[in-house]
Assembly symmetry: C2
Homo-oligomer: 197 residues x 2
Amino acid sequence: YAPPRCAAAQTSAEQGVLPPCHHHEAVHDPQLVPCTCPLFSCPWEGHLEVVVSHLRQTHHINILQGAEIVFLATDMHLPAPTDWIIMHSCLGHHFLLVLRKQEKYEGHPQFFATMMLIGTPTQADNFTYRLELNRNQRRLKWEATPRSVLECVDSVISDGDCLVLNTSLAQLFSDNGSLAIGIAITTSKVHNAEIEM
Amino acid sequence: YAPPRCAAAQTSAEQGVLPPCHHHEAVHDPQLVPCTCPLFSCPWEGHLEVVVSHLRQTHHINILQGAEIVFLATDMHLPAPTDWIIMHSCLGHHFLLVLRKQEKYEGHPQFFATMMLIGTPTQADNFTYRLELNRNQRRLKWEATPRSVLECVDSVISDGDCLVLNTSLAQLFSDNGSLAIGIAITTSKVHNAEIEM
């Protein structure tokens, strides 16, 4: 696994500028969060409470509202590594969707998508996120507990514990070079889990 | 893409013997189907009507009944290439689930799962199949139209137009080396598709 290089900035007409960015090497104060915009070399670090405003003001990452939203990632053909990032506000919290194009195996770019809570791991455990692709008579759904931005998005993606798409599947789900990702967040209740068992 | 080598036979206590097998090189009569048990070198070819009895009698592939079933693939640790195969009888037809462990990229085995209708492509278009994995607070669902066994399962898998799992995700969904795959078949009606639009 090689750390991602810097990539050209991504823009989307509707969602605003999505600058790919680089992670910090280390966080010294566990209460401090490095800039969570993954592929951009940003020296900022700060407390959880101000991460949202930093991402919005410095990196111009837009916020989409609502329990169920659709994020349109454009220009899927851009070379790896590239990130598409959006914040999602619902249920009183902000979530960060990271869609990454990366070559784990040389010459074979894949797409990795995950959601992080801009909050603590304990808070993250209260939620379930769902990512859904739906096109060409195919449907792919991934449901999981979001990670906290206090954890590292790089390790989530290198572990492959996320929605993973190879290039051919990404093309089947794309329309004119854009991938529409349905996103839903729900609260995960112990009560529901017991009923399912 | 290299054609899969022969692999040791797979057994499952409940589902019976699952012999991995090899595809034919070519079918001369389009009405004739080569043995659809993919990793085994079987010289048989015959008409669609007798494929089920051939798979059952010669390859001892079991049939599971019901609209929604769970197939337990055991010994997921076996080296690639290995196939797990089961027939699924519902809605008046027989479907073939193929789960394949294969190294597209050397040293990185992946799992590929798809369903084929033991019938014509036109018949296959009337159905939708769903494969579902559900464990460790993660859920992955894949829905698509089944292919016909008159098409080649090898190309479906090499195209990646199926459920694809990397090893780490397969481990997260496995319990004690076994992967439980929920399978459901429904009829796909034009009526429903119009309502969704």
